[in-house]
Subunit: 307 residues, 2 copies
């Protein structure tokens, strides 16, 4: 039995070669650094540019990670796409690979859809995958998906599939919503992850399970340390330091900024590459980011250098 996910997970940034193909070697190295820093692997998330990856690319990359010895029991791959068939394919593959769970966007092309339609979407995937090992973490990220998941929908899914529906990542950016999810469902074994470390301490104090946060790609050890020591007297001070780092990244396009930081601290310029429709940071902007981060004492200790 794969242990249940908890603590801090990173939506692992996906490195690309100059021809924009995914770079499995660099990907596995970054995953190992994250695991060594104490955080789990929410590969193929929003910040992984996973929605810019083809179905076959995601399958090949997950297989490459497992072949490279990265533990699937620490992975929660994103598997939700617009299309039922593709979501089923990716989800079944992740379960068979031994992943701890999957993070599942609702189908997000059609807007203004009903709870009934979203219920049927998740239900079809769960029924078609038909595997008792499946653990679905619902992915609520209305600023990007534009398709919110209501408390009523979550309640209905949890009632129908109490084994399969394992939790949620709440990327609404609204702590009151995260709190409402915990209040409504945590007692039933529904694990609520905050969508960023901004709400990590609040989430843990209120009964949540941790966070799945972009910045865990670049600041993993410090975010994990707050998780590990959230009952300590210095927890609020830790939270404030995390917030300062995050704010520095968040002033820029987040994914490009994280890749620029990894490129800088690893000395591996190949990390800068993003896939369209994203655009990499200009050199001047990367330098400004690094300067601001150094000014607040940020570094990425132990990050693997360029191969």
């Amino acid at each position: 039995m794969t242990p249940r996910a908890s603590g801090v997970l990173a939506p692992v940034v996906t490195p690309f070669r100059p021809d924009l193909s995914p770079d499995a070697g660099r990907f596995a190295r970054h995953c190992r650094w994250l695991l060594d820093s104490g955080v789990g692997l929410a590969v193929f998330g929003t910040n992984s540019e996973a929605n810019s990856l083809g179905v076959d690319e995601r399958i090949d990359l997950l297989e490459a990670l497992v072949a490279a010895g990265v533990d699937p029991g620490r992975m929660m791959p994103g598997t939700g796409t617009c299309a039922l068939a593709d979501t089923v394919k990716l989800t079944a593959h992740a379960v068979k690979a031994g992943c701890a769970g999957v993070l599942m966007l609702p189908p997000f092309y059609y807007k203004g859809v009903t709870d009934e339609g979203l219920f049927r979407s998740y239900a079809e995937v769960i029924e078609r995958v038909g595997d008792a090992r499946l653990r679905v973490y619902l992915y609520h990220i209305p600023p990007v998906s534009q398709v919110p998941l209501s408390l009523a929908l979550i309640g209905r899914l949890l009632k129908a599939y109490p084994q399969a529906i394992a939790g949620v990542k709440d990327s609404s950016g609204d702590w009151n919503n995260t709190k409402a999810m915990i209040d409504a469902f945590a007692a039933q074994g529904f694990d609520v992850f905050a969508g960023s470390e901004t709400f990590l301490l609040a989430n843990l104090r209120h009964g949540g399970k941790g966070c799945i946060s972009a910045t865990a790609n670049v600041n993993p050890a410090a975010i994990h340390a707050l998780y590990a020591h959230w009952r300590d007297a210095d927890a609020d001070a830790r939270q404030q330091r995390l917030d300062a780092v995050r704010a520095t990244f968040q002033k820029r396009p987040m994914i490009a900024a994280m890749k620029a930081a990894i490129a800088h601290w690893s000395g591996d310029a190949a990390w800068k590459t993003v896939r369209p429709p994203l655009v990499d940071l200009a050199d001047s902007e990367s330098a400004a980011l690094v300067g601001e981060l150094q000014a607040i004492g940020f570094a990425m200790p132990g990050l693997a250098a360029a191969p």
Copy 2:
């Protein structure tokens, strides 16, 4: 050389079996009825629920249509997905199949992306497909995609790829935007299609090429007749009759309503099925729709009965 698309095209509704798999036989029959009614086939559009179809499902369905004898020279399949690799795969397949063009959404998961990022997205697809036969119709549908295509972006694409960039479907619902596209680019051979027949007459009078409209699935002959006779004295009266039919559908969820109407007039209840996240119309709502349509003299002459 495949003739350039013009006139009226339908984003062909996709029939599903009870197990939600696409039904190629019914799909080909509906395509033939549309062609017989004078309209072209924008298969795999928004109203085709194409974004709920997997990559392989789209490829298999297009091949099934061609195998069934439906002319690919009358087809403009939708091929734009979130993922570069999938968009390239679908587009290359459509070109090789001999389609007249492709209707291409921008990558639509990430929001607030730059024109530079969108330019790179389209440019990568065009370069990777690398086929002189490729004709791209840009798909501007901000109410659904939430990723608009600016005039500046279109101008830049047209300058870089004057052969490949063939036109646009403007589903903004804003006639001033459609007009601005014609004014800026029609003289360069850029074909502007209105996103619905609501603006068909205005579009033709202003120098546009036609429309690609959901309702062309259910009212094809009448919409085509306005295209064929738009210079006649009764054109405004024709437009008003089209508008009345459209308004009756548009009061309901459009895709489910069109499928309910096809089910009614063909006597083939199988047509009612939609894929999640959409939900089929309740029987009472279908009956109300049919009643309102009959009251304004609507019918679907020549529609194939249930097999």
